[in-house]
């Protein structure tokens, strides 16, 4: 079949072009090209640009949960040393922008929507002066005493069905529960999470006449340009964002937020560049939280352990008027069978900081609960948990009837089980004790939807036989520099040393951005298509079709004909822009990446402390573009799973909605000692429906279900089933068996 280079991805590209290329670098575990810069402290992050005359801004946060600013005592502060301005502009943003919004979020900081909302910016010559002035600034409010809901479970919190979340209903779940040989009906809850990227949000804003240049730490620059332009009521054409290196995002930098807008306004007002770096506490308090969830899971199985009914209902929260509602049941829709089903998400409107995307929104918390409930069903049905999962993989998506593009779940379960030594698992709890520790194993499936976002990239084959890849796509640590170079090198028959990749500048063609695991497949496909266009031209020069051209190490050939790229180019550069947009393949097929987690944990018989001892993840996500960076993404996700299972929890004070643990001492992300040796198995797969690369997303897959495997292992170790994440020891010790009694 002959593909056109049209934008829309409507038909699976079965040519499988990358496997027909001869350079042999695609998929290889190549090092990221920016590695040497990164280990010498010479990669430049957004706050680190030196601009003449740059001054410092510090955000001031509200110390009330809701109300209206009545007076800002500017004069006292403006008189302080070095202070240049106190801004509370109506264009400043109250909330963070949701990912892919492309529009301004709620503006006007006169109104306070939640505790610690930014309400002003103090600008001074030095950071210390600005911070001191920000701390000294007195602000008075009206209406601060009005009662508002902070707890999604409180009676005054209005509960709605979110606008973009349609419940899935099929058959009669109640009847299936009555008919079931084995039924589970359980409530679980998960707490709020923080992205906690290591680089705090930071922006330097500079105006050159009516053009705004932002050096900012953001994930999706093409959207961010539109967002900041909308905030400032200027044309997106007047905005340029530069972000070649981003110190982690995990969702928190998807959309433009407080510091960027404030910096832009201050820079305009003062006529000089302004830098605003948020403090760690401010990032925790104001940017974005993952919603806490309460989830009810109902599983109805027949005598053979086959699901006949499945219910997954979730209550999440957000501020009023926010579209985003944690899509908890996203993977439940397609993962397991059970035609009688009810899946729905409701959102409680409360007055705490904006809820939005944190790594793998939906699956991160939905899958861990579904997979813990599956473990409960396996026990009830007397089935091995791996076997239960294998019995419940439907041929087509229930209710909708859509076919799967590809699904390596069985392979993942089998290979993961073999790797961890699942056959040594004892089917019932409290059977293995080593010293003071109970030992147990648990399994969970992994699933994460595959998403494509419109993307463009320019590839230039230079007359000297090198190539340049350019797009505003970001690399937030995921390996974008490496994989885009590999795609171009493979397609153009060049060693990786001959390919240069330039990213993170909106003066370049608009990539997808980093988020939702879509960066690689979207922008990577655009790079591939640009290369296809170049190959077509090269083919013409050599007298053949582009697809028939063979290029290796800069030498093009077709049949007997052979010519170096340098000679073919004959002194002229060849530049093409490739683009892609999601099309019909995303409607015709259910597309997701799959995998399985196997965990072995120890639970301290006296104190209930849980430590992960070993963990294996096996993943199938289409073509592996770079075995090293893909593995790193999987490992990172699994460590997030450890945090989600055991330690991470945003603690809000329900009297005023303020975040109590707003620093890295008390919000417990995993540290070195929490992370044992983890194994990752990358399964070979090709998925033509997912992208011309035959690759699917992998950035978030490693977290989607991981915490469930750990929770299941805890139960297998000590017989304590905790239905509230994280599994901190306080929830375990009331149910532990007598530590002085050894297993029979």
């Amino acid at each position: 079949m002959r593909m056109t280079l049209a934008d829309m991805y409507n038909t699976p590209d079965e040519r499988n072009l990358l496997d027909t290329m001869k350079q042999g670098i695609i998929g290889k575990p190549l090092d990221r090209p920016e590695g040497p810069l990164k280990v010498t402290g010479t990669a430049t992050y957004s706050a680190e640009y030196k601009l003449d005359g740059c001054v410092e801004g510090v955000l001031v946060l509200a110390d009330i949960p809701q109300g209206t600013v009545s007076t800002i005592h500017r004069d006292d502060v403006v008189a302080m040393p070095g202070v240049l301005a106190v801004l509370a502009d109506e264009a400043m943003v109250r909330r963070s922008t949701q990912g892919t919004s492309g529009k301004a979020p709620a503006q006007d900081v006169q109104t306070v929507d939640y505790f610690a909302q930014p309400v002003a910016l103090v600008v001074a010559e030095t950071f210390e002066q600005a911070r001191e002035a920000a701390l000294a600034l007195k602000i008075e409010y009206e209406g601060a005493g009005n009662p508002v809901p902070f707890d999604p479970e409180s009676a005054d919190a209005e509960v709605e069905t979110p606008s973009d979340s349609k419940p899935v209903k099929g058959g009669d779940l109640e009847q299936a529960m009555r008919d079931a040989a084995f039924a589970i009906d359980v409530d679980y809850d998960t707490p709020g999470h923080a992205s906690a990227a290591m680089e705090p949000h930071a922006t330097i804003a500079e105006w050159q006449d009516d053009r705004l240049i932002l050096r900012g730490s953001y994930q999706m620059l093409a959207f961010n340009v539109k967002e900041i332009a909308d905030c400032l009521s200027i044309s997106p054409k007047k905005v340029r964002i530069i972000a070649p290196y981003v110190g982690g995002g995990f969702g928190s930098k998807l959309g433009i937020t407080h510091e960027a807008v404030a910096a832009a306004i201050a820079a305009k007002e003062l006529g000089r560049p302004v830098r605003v770096v948020m403090t760690r506490q401010q990032v925790f308090q104001t940017v974005m939280r993952r919603s806490e969830t309460r989830q009810r899971v109902r599983l109805a199985a027949d005598a053979a352990g086959k699901l006949i009914g499945l219910g997954h209902e979730a209550l999440v929260s957000n501020l009023p008027d926010e579209d985003f509602a944690e899509p908890v049941t996203q993977a439940t829709e397609f993962l397991y069978g059970g035609e009688n089903r009810l899946l729905k998400v409701e959102v409680a409107r409360i007055c705490r900081m904006t809820a939005g995307s944190v790594r793998a929104p939906g699956e991160a918390v939905g899958m861990q609960v579904l997979e813990a409930a599956m473990d409960e069903l396996a026990e009830k049905a007397g089935l091995d948990p791996v076997e239960l999962r294998k019995r419940n993989l439907p041929a087509k998506v229930p209710v909708e009837g859509t076919p799967y593009s590809s699904r390596m779940l069985v392979e993942a379960l089998e290979q993961g089980a073999a790797q961890l030594g699942w056959d040594r698992r004892k089917p019932s709890p409290c059977q293995t004790r080593e010293g003071d520790w109970w030992i147990g194993m648990g399994v969970a499936s992994a699933a994460r939807v595959n998403v494509m976002i419109p993307a463009e990239a320019r590839v230039t084959l230079n007359a000297d036989g090198t190539a340049l890849v350019e797009t505003d796509q970001t690399d937030i640590g995921t390996g974008t520099y490496a994989i885009l170079g590999q795609i171009a090198g493979e397609m153009l028959g060049l060693p990786i040393s001959k390919v240069r990749v330039v990213l993170g500048d909106t003066s370049l063609p608009a990539g997808a951005g980093s988020g939702g695991s879509f960066g690689a497949i979207s922008t990577g496909s655009a790079v591939m298509r640009a290369c296809e266009a170049i190959r077509k031209k090269l083919g013409k020069k050599l007298g053949c079709e582009g697809d028939a051209l063979e290029i290796t190490d800069g030498m093009a050939s077709h049949g007997e004909k052979q010519c170096s790229l340098i000679d073919l180019l004959d002194g002229e550069d060849m530049a093409e822009i490739g683009s892609i947009k999601p099309g019909k393949t995303f409607k015709d097929f259910s597309q997701a990446s799959y995998g399985a987690f196997f965990a072995e944990v120890g639970v301290h018989a006296f104190t209930g402390e849980v430590r992960v001892r070993r963990m294996t993840g096996a993943f199938g996500f289409g073509r592996v573009l770079n075995a090293k960076t893909a593995r790193s993404q999987c490992l990172g996700g699994m460590v997030w799973g450890i945090g989600s299972a055991l330690t991470e929890e945003l603690a809000f004070d329900m009297r005023d909605g303020h975040l109590v643990n707003h620093d890295l001492a008390e919000y417990h992300v995993p540290v070195h000692a929490d992370v044992p040796a983890l194994d990752v198995i990358l399964l070979e797969e090709r998925d033509a429906a997912a992208s011309p690369l035959q690759a699917k997303g992998v950035g978030e897959l490693g977290i989607c279900g991981a915490a469930g495997a750990i929770a299941n292992a805890v139960y297998n170790a000590c017989g304590v089933r905790v239905r509230s994440f994280p599994l901190t020891l306080d929830k375990i010790i009331p149910h532990l068996p007598d530590p002085f009694v050894s297993p029979a």
Partner: protein, 326 residues
């Protein structure tokens, strides 16, 4: 942070002299600098003692004298400490990280302030930070807070590890001040909050810790068990310091101190009396825990510390007495 003057004292006497004109002492700065950035502490004048003679360790007839300026890293690495007072080295190494221990000092660590989130958040009421303001933690998120030694005005814990070990080792805090030198048993050093939680310890204005003295070693089995939410780099939920000597299968001598359980490092002689002379058993440990925790009061989120302390006590004593028998 608020601008301040930084003076360097070159001797303890010089520092004490300087303190008569007001000011706050800084040593490693690992706690004070943070508090100053948040303007929880806002001294106009800070007197650094890093260039004084207080950084020495010496053995004498009374035991080991650890200068106030000896860093946690140096103290934990000292061969004399590791051999004779291993409990102290274990407790120090259970806390913070190497970078912090390289800066944090013996005197400073004794004076480190609580990690109560309401103390650290200037938008919240806190009697310790702002006397008379009230205590937002009592009915707030108080999972890490104390269950012993609390008052209506404060439930914050002393968060450290080093002092817990020192308490079990009967250390003495040596000070110098306007009214001369003092020797303060460590059990009397930290103050329970009562109705004035703003003062964490009994140091008077202008008084400086010069050293901590450890008495002669006991030769017992010494263990430090820190129970926390992650495997390392977290403050204790409960910690237990044990120094136990066994004789013919019975507990001959026993010192037990607890961290993050009370508002101050906690030691109760009545608990030790229950244990001494007895054969170790699950029932004995439970009896000791009951004595320890008879007045313990949780406020909801921290209720679990009561059974956790009993379990940590049992686990640690079990391990120590087994080792002592071997």
């Amino acid at each position: 942070m608020k601008a301040f003057a930084l003076d360097h004292a070159t001797s303890a006497q010089g520092a004490i002299h300087a303190l008569q004109h007001g000011g706050t002492v800084i040593a490693g700065g690992t706690n004070l600098v943070d508090l100053m950035k948040l303007q929880i502490a806002a001294p106009d004048r800070v007197i650094s003692i890093r260039r004084t003679e207080l950084g020495e360790m010496a053995l004498d007839g009374e035991g080991l004298r650890i200068g106030a300026l000896v860093t946690n890293a140096d103290c934990a690495a000292d061969m004399r400490v590791r051999e004779h007072w291993p409990l102290l080295a274990k407790a120090i190494l259970a806390g913070a990280s190497p970078q912090l221990r390289n800066r944090a000092t013996t005197g400073g660590n004794l004076c480190q302030r609580t990690r109560c989130g309401y103390f650290y958040d200037t938008t919240q009421a806190c009697n310790k930070r702002d006397p008379g303001a009230g205590c937002a933690a009592r009915s707030g998120f108080n999972r890490i807070h104390a269950v012993l030694g609390t008052s209506d005005s404060c439930i914050a814990t002393y968060p450290g590890d080093m002092a817990v070990a020192m308490l079990a080792l009967d250390a003495v805090v040596l000070t110098e001040g306007p009214s001369g030198p003092r020797e303060i048993p460590i059990a009397a050093f930290h103050r329970m909050p009562g109705d004035d939680p703003s003062r964490d310890n009994v140091l008077e204005a202008g008084e400086l810790i010069t050293a901590v003295r450890l008495p002669a070693p006991t030769g017992g089995i010494q263990l430090y068990r820190k129970v926390r939410d992650r495997a390392s780099y977290a403050f204790a939920l409960v910690s237990v310091a044990v120094d136990v000597t066994m004789d013919q299968g019975r507990i001959a001598r026993c010192a037990l101190a607890f961290g993050s359980l009370g508002t101050v490092p906690w030691r109760d002689p009545a608990v030790e009396q229950v244990l001494i002379g007895e054969e170790p058993s699950a029932a004995l440990f439970a009896k000791a825990a009951n004595v320890l925790l008879k007045d313990a009061k949780g406020l909801g989120a921290n209720d679990f510390k009561i059974p956790l302390a009993a379990r940590a006590l049992a686990a640690t004593l079990n391990e120590a007495t087994q080792a002592g028998k071997a």
